[in-house]
Symmetry: D2
Subunit: 294 residues, 4 copies
């Protein structure tokens, strides 16, 4: 019998050991026996062992659209609502958000209902406008390595939802969190949303295993975005079941009261009926796993 060193395992080196090193991330790294970071909001939380759903449209399009979606979310017992007033778009000719008008709609609907807002900040110049209406400030995939923006959200005193870039490694994601934390903000939520690969059967290949790998390395909550990865409503419930099964702290999912009229991401948004069916589906699995939905 030969010794193990004579065996050959991998076709390629993979740096898992280094990635998981306790010393690599002074602030985001998980210390042995340490506590997980808990994000607490008025009536919602992330990282407490429950499974938190953030739902809503890609973009705020009108008061009617946003308000209708808010009531849908409340009806299903959720509190956290996504919806952007500033939208990054590949083309300068695409609809890129209602900007201040969108922020005003978010503020009005928050007053009228009990929803909390998760909305994107694209530029340090918009901090004064965006942060007051946001309960969680999102840094998008394309800005994951926008280092001035990362430093800036280090000073806002509100939780930051940091999405993994579609071309970025887990180490880079953790280092981006480290930027925010080093600048003074310990409330960071990590979000895997699909990566670019040669395969085009999904819009972006959902890296489900990023969740347990990240959780073994960091004390920060980790969620999945099935909408921007899988890219079609048909397979979104399965992606959310996977998120539950691997122990994600939650998901962020796109829903729209009328997907066929959406100004962006309509093709991947769940309709109200699809949303209801998904909530039922997930509810059963969450109970089986003893995970509270919120």
């Amino acid at each position: 019998m030969m010794s193990r060193s004579q065996g050959e395992t991998a076709d390629r080196e993979f740096p898992l050991a280094e990635l998981l090193s306790p010393d690599a991330y002074p602030l985001a790294g998980r210390s042995a026996g340490g506590q997980k970071t808990l994000i607490e909001l008025k009536g919602a939380s992330l990282g407490d062992g429950g499974f938190t759903l953030i739902a809503g449209p890609c973009a705020v399009e009108s008061y009617e659209q946003y308000s209708e979606t808010a009531h849908l979310i409340i009806k299903h017992g959720l509190k956290l609502m996504r919806g952007g007033a500033f939208k990054p778009r590949t083309s300068p000719y695409s609809f890129d958000g209602l900007r201040q008008e969108g922020l005003d709609i978010i503020a009005r609907v928050k007053k009228e209902t009990s929803v909390l807002s998760v909305t994107e900040l694209m530029s340090t110049e918009d901090i004064g406008a965006v942060v007051p209406v946001a309960d969680i400030v999102q840094v998008g995939s394309r800005n994951m390595q926008n280092f001035p923006l990362l430093r800036a959200v280090g000073g806002i005193g509100k939780p930051v939802l940091l999405k993994r870039g579609f071309g970025n490694t887990l180490r880079e994601l953790l280092m981006a969190a480290e930027y925010i934390m080093k600048a003074g903000n310990p409330q960071v939520i990590l979000c895997e949303r699909g990566i670019r690969t040669f395969d085009s059967s999904q819009r972006n290949t959902l890296d489900v295993m990023a969740v347990p790998i990240l959780q073994s390395t960091t004390h920060l909550p980790v969620i999945l975005d099935p909408s921007h990865s899988v890219g079609t409503p048909r397979f979104i419930p399965a992606a959310i079941r996977a998120a539950l099964a691997v122990g994600a702290d939650g998901v962020i999912v796109e829903i729209h009261p009328h997907p066929e009229e959406a100004l962006s991401d309509g093709a991947q948004s769940l309709s109200p009926d699809e949303f209801s069916a998904m909530m039922n589906d997930i509810g059963a699995l969450a109970r089986a796993l003893d995970r509270r939905l919120s």
Copy 2:
């Protein structure tokens, strides 16, 4: 409100519609309302709604190693045992299997125990030696587009476990199954085992969502291989939970009685203790999902 056509969704085109076309795969394609393919063996099955675990070492290394593993598998109520006598290796200087001696060990252990054998066929020239001892014949990742081999296993009259190439699309995987079926063998099991991406936090990025996408397109059973993708025992239980959650028909996982002595893939094989812990972990989730383990 603008019409949907003014919205822009995807950064890249993705051909889901074409991939899922009912006409693209005359034999492997799922017909509306059609039955799933059921693989039935003496005391084991795949595709009947249960969750089938195939476990065993990467390679048959000795009678003692293979027999000890067989007893471990039986102890946990499993029947299907993997283990290769012919091993594809990147380097011609690596251990590449015991060949005929390995097949003899498989045959002996099958007689002594009730295990069924899943073993790899690498060449049409070995059909006469390999097929008689195999209960399921494996076509490996590097041979997924070895078309003469695909045609040849179309004539063996035994189930074929077809692994997705690490650089291949789902369409190509389905077309490879089509080759086997067109040559006369309807018993094909598809296996996702990780794809190559820029990310190296896994040995190969596990494409969990391939399972529901494939299942919506084909009536063939679909399983996951967490060992060659995730590449480290620490995250294999999470990968198997994901497989269960998205509805995979099973998994194929590497275990070794003494991983530190393995001649190949030791670093990714579960030890007996890790295997037991995983079986407990999975058992609870399977019961919650009402999926029978076998």
Copy 3:
């Protein structure tokens, strides 16, 4: 003989036709018979049929380092000098530039020599500091889809060197140029600098063919960055020869008077001797191709 439609070509769809559509890029798109964009500076140009070399250190590290490099560049007949005062770094604990002190060094060396400065702008907030000392303003790979920054450099009245993101398609690069042009700045230089693939024999896989594909679609100058792609001095001359051969308008290359002391990118910077050897090597090919070096 069957008709061509019975043949099957591609394993995957590739959207070249759409990418090259004359209508897809109203401002950056190449019109039939149209002129190429010419970037003209005091004593340097890009896009006039010559082959323009931009050389210099990754970062401005000290007056001595920057000044010494400037004299090296002048000695070889070049004018355009790279060197960042603001450096994007994966880790918040890495050296990230001398900032204002670095800009002051650039300004001083420009006065003392005839070099022109290509330097990176990372944030709209630094426009007032960076733009006055820059002759060409660089937007880095990680900011290629930082849309507020793209819009901002649309108003600076100086040429912009736009680097392709390591995870971005050519369509996205062209659309990023479109953002800058739509905001009023027609002087955009596109730069391919390597993309992320499964292969790790280069730091990033240099996509040499992006040059002719882009040039067939846009009238903007296109250059290559061999340093951030190939990642090692040994193969940089070959990459520059490839750039010349496919018709690139130039290259941007990292050199350092003392690579072993560099604060960033030392491992991929050419030493003075390597730089001289490369210039000789390239000179011969340029003459053969009747391309003027500058």
Copy 4:
């Protein structure tokens, strides 16, 4: 001034040092000061410092098509002609070659003209039929890790053209060559033909830099296949210029007397006029670089 160890270079580790290790490839590895491998045939050669063009159709389709192409090749002073009688196809319903009839056509045209044949072997079972008519035996991309086939061509006594798999690393390519050489055949030609990436502006992303990286590691000749990578005639001349500029030993390119009637790969084959234009274009560059075309 900080020491170099304080600098940070790479976003990802890349194993160039290990790849280039002189000891990693006992047979294929380049020894210091060692000779390059020279492939010599009746009237053609590879690896002697010249630039060797292999041209021809994807598949042998008829005597007329193959003979017409042979005369085209001879007219341009070339000797080596590609053309497959056995074609690997993704779908079992696609045209996959004329098989024995195709081999008979190759043999007849060889007798009638002076062309030499480069043709693909897909299975060990066809060695007896294929090898006698081949001057160079091709192992295709999908068979690069078909280890029994690699071992078999180690015994044929004729040069082997080994194409890189579209999902394979350079280390794996070199190890595949090592298989052939270890089995007794030192005459191996390596061929880069594009790899799969997230980018779809080429059929497969041409990894031009693989040429100098491979050549620094191995004494074997290295050629490029622009047809299967770039995937459209429009950019093939630029790819061949790049091959010349980086020092490739040659290229293999698809041409067809009537591309619109091709049974496979018509969309990427050069027409006779495009072929003539390319030969002129390349001839000028080859003379400038003092490389003899053949």
